[in-house]
């Protein structure tokens, strides 16, 4: 009986479709892996010989063999730390408010919610233009680190808020009810139950959105990050450059020496990104073990 069903034409068709689907999926994986491996290989081949201590200690130079990423690397670090310092507290606080305090089923709340979701999908260059108009021009911050960091904060805020909301929502209501039943205030409940239990999800989301910010070029070029600077940032009003802009500048030069320098800078940027992602993975793994 069972045998006859398996060999019926319908069953064979289903099996064939099943196989085909599996092959298509496998091919997609292989295709993307091959491209990735090829890219990594060619970048490593071009860039590895350039990765020496001088590369990190030198500023950009007109001589490709002397060009280094000191200004770009310090700029990227400053930008990302300040962006985190601005966007993380604001983002988490906003998520806490929407999830724990704002009235549910309120038209205003859902209006805000829709807008945050939409903002998460706005192209980054738009944030750059906004940053130029608001921070650089209106608030006269000039082309400073703080203007760049505020612009990138706007860019990552929607993502951070959405991820933090999801994590807070995933905390079972019974925890909240328990805390409230024991007489804690809402602040105590958020502090002792919601936030601690949501924290691993929030941190993962924060790190992933900051990794996006560290690779952004367009909004920073728009607000006026520079291509050549021979000083490292000293304070919030310093002018600056970042790794992606340095890579962009070098890769468009005619001399092939600059292309190797660009490849080396790409390796550094990749290493930073992989480290950040690794931290996110570790945090998630730890929290799962706990749960």
């Amino acid at each position: 009986m069972a045998l006859s069903i398996q060999t019926s034409p319908l069953a064979r068709r289903r099996k064939a479709a099943d196989k085909a689907f599996r092959v298509v999926c496998l091919l997609s994986v292989v295709a993307s892996c091959v491209v990735l491996v090829y890219l990594l290989f060619s970048i490593l081949q071009d860039g590895l010989p350039r990765l020496n201590p001088e590369f990190f200690q030198n500023f950009s130079s007109r001589r490709p063999e002397a060009a280094g990423i000191k200004a770009a690397m310090m700029g990227s670090i400053w930008i990302i730390l300040i962006t985190a310092a601005i966007a993380v507290p604001v983002g988490i606080a906003a998520a806490v408010y929407i999830e724990e305090f704002s009235p549910k089923n309120n038209p205003l709340t859902s209006f805000i919610q829709v807008n945050i979701n939409n903002l998460a999908g706005v192209p980054s260059i738009i944030y750059g233009l906004l940053g130029l108009a608001v921070f650089v021009r209106f608030f006269a911050m000039d082309r400073s680190i703080i203007a760049g960091a505020l612009t990138l904060s706007l860019l990552v805020l929607p993502t951070i808020i959405v991820v933090a909301q999801e994590s807070i929502r995933a905390v079972p209501d019974s925890y909240r009810h328990g805390a409230l039943a024991l007489g804690s205030t809402k602040w105590q409940m958020v502090r002792t139950q919601s936030l601690p239990n949501a924290m691993s999800g929030i941190v993962t989301g924060v790190i992933l959105s900051l990794s996006r910010a560290i690779g952004e070029t367009a909004p920073l070029i728009t607000i006026g990050a520079v291509a050549f600077i021979a000083t490292v940032p000293e304070n919030l009003s310093s002018k600056f450059t970042v790794l992606p802009i340095q890579i962009f500048d070098w890769s468009s030069r005619p001399q092939s020496g600059f292309h190797q320098a660009a490849a080396a800078a790409i390796i550094v940027l990749l290493a930073i990104l992989i480290t950040l992602n690794l931290v996110a993975v570790l945090i998630r793994a730890r929290s799962q073990k706990r749960a």
Partner: protein, 348 residues
């Protein structure tokens, strides 16, 4: 527990850092702007100089800035790269001291600067010859006339095969590579070849990055592309430059033909515009320009562009010393030697 600790630590470190930075900010900031006003200190000038504009000109000014910073350690020179048009927008708004351009300033850009009370000195800094290149294996082309190039590049052109370019050319598909529409190179090429700025067919491989175009032309037997002379020079083993016939016989692009203005109409000057207001308030601007006049030629060459001939550079320096303001270019024009243009009295 541990993830909670990590999370809270992240928050704490972040906020602490923000507090520190905000706290430290103003003190050092005031020191910075203070030094900008006071000017000379221990022999050299100090303060900041902001340059922005054409990405084509960026390597030249970045090279000058690099060397200038070594001899003037108290100065801070930054070079941005937001494009010729983007640079003029910032220049007109008074946000930068020097604007770099791969085409002369336009009338509307002059008007805007005037409206904001900004006057400028226009200084050619180098020459470039836009080079038309084909694949190394292309053995049928040694020169093209301007008319043929126009036929290929004009808007709506249907020429997709070499045999339609000139009778006698083989039946090989023509693939085009050219500058992206935001670049000054695109503006200049279309004006010189088609006769109208930004008038170009659109079905070609466009990139702002000349290295992408080089790769394209290298890998395609029927390819034709154009970009700056320096990019051709660096890749001349893999590419073939096409001589251009502007009515008086084919001329190949070379340092000599660009300087002698016989390579026409694709020779172009690269320019900078110095704000006179910035010169008055900021001593670094003057020192930087002096440095450029003394050492610029060699740095221009290292940046893979063609330096101005000595006598032209002398005229440029004279204009600068006399603070001759305004633009010598009557808007968009091509085909004139730089020496001729400099002889003109300042217009507008």
């Amino acid at each position: 527990m541990s993830s909670r600790t990590v999370g809270i630590l992240t928050l704490l470190v972040g906020s602490a850092l923000a507090a520190c930075l905000v706290g430290c900010g103003p003190t050092s900031e005031s020191g910075d702007s203070g030094s900008k006003e006071t000017g000379s200190k221990s022999g050299g000038v100090s303060g900041s100089l902001t340059i922005d504009g054409s990405s084509t000109v960026t390597p030249i000014l970045a090279a000058v800035a690099e060397e200038f910073s070594k001899t003037h350690p108290d100065s801070r020179v930054t070079v941005g790269t937001s494009g010729t048009g983007g640079g003029f927008k910032k220049f007109d708004a008074g946000e930068i001291d020097i604007s770099m351009a791969s085409r002369p300033i336009k009338q509307e850009e002059i008007d805007k600067a005037k409206a904001n009370g900004i006057d400028f000195i226009e200084l050619p800094v180098a020459l470039d010859g836009l080079t038309v290149v084909v694949n190394k294996e292309n053995n049928w082309v040694d020169h093209l006339t301007v008319a043929e190039l126009k036929k290929i590049w004009e808007p709506g052109s249907k020429i997709n095969n070499w045999k339609d370019v000139r009778p006698g050319f083989p039946d090989v598909p023509l693939k085009l590579y050219g500058a992206g529409t935001d670049s000054g190179t695109f503006d200049y090429f279309t004006l010189a070849i088609v006769g109208k700025e930004k008038a170009s067919r659109t079905d070609y491989q466009a990139s702002e990055d000349d290295n992408v175009l080089i790769q394209g032309v290298k890998g395609d037997k029927g390819a034709l592309g154009y970009f700056g002379f320096g990019y051709y020079e660096e890749n001349q083993d893999d590419l073939k430059a096409v001589a251009i016939d502007n009515g008086s016989g084919p001329v190949a692009p070379s340092v000599r033909s660009v300087v002698g203005a016989t390579y026409q109409p694709l020779s172009r000057p690269l320019l900078i515009y110095v704000s006179t207001k910035a010169m008055e308030t900021n001593k670094v601007v003057g020192a930087f320009m002096e440095y450029f006049f003394a050492n610029g030629s060699q740095l221009v060459e290292e940046a893979k562009f063609i330096p101005l001939p000595k006598e032209v550079l002398d005229v440029v320096k004279k204009h600068f010393d006399e603070r001759k303001t305004g633009s010598l270019f009557k808007g968009a024009e091509v085909g004139l030697g730089i020496a001729e243009i400099l002889k003109r009295e300042t217009g507008g």
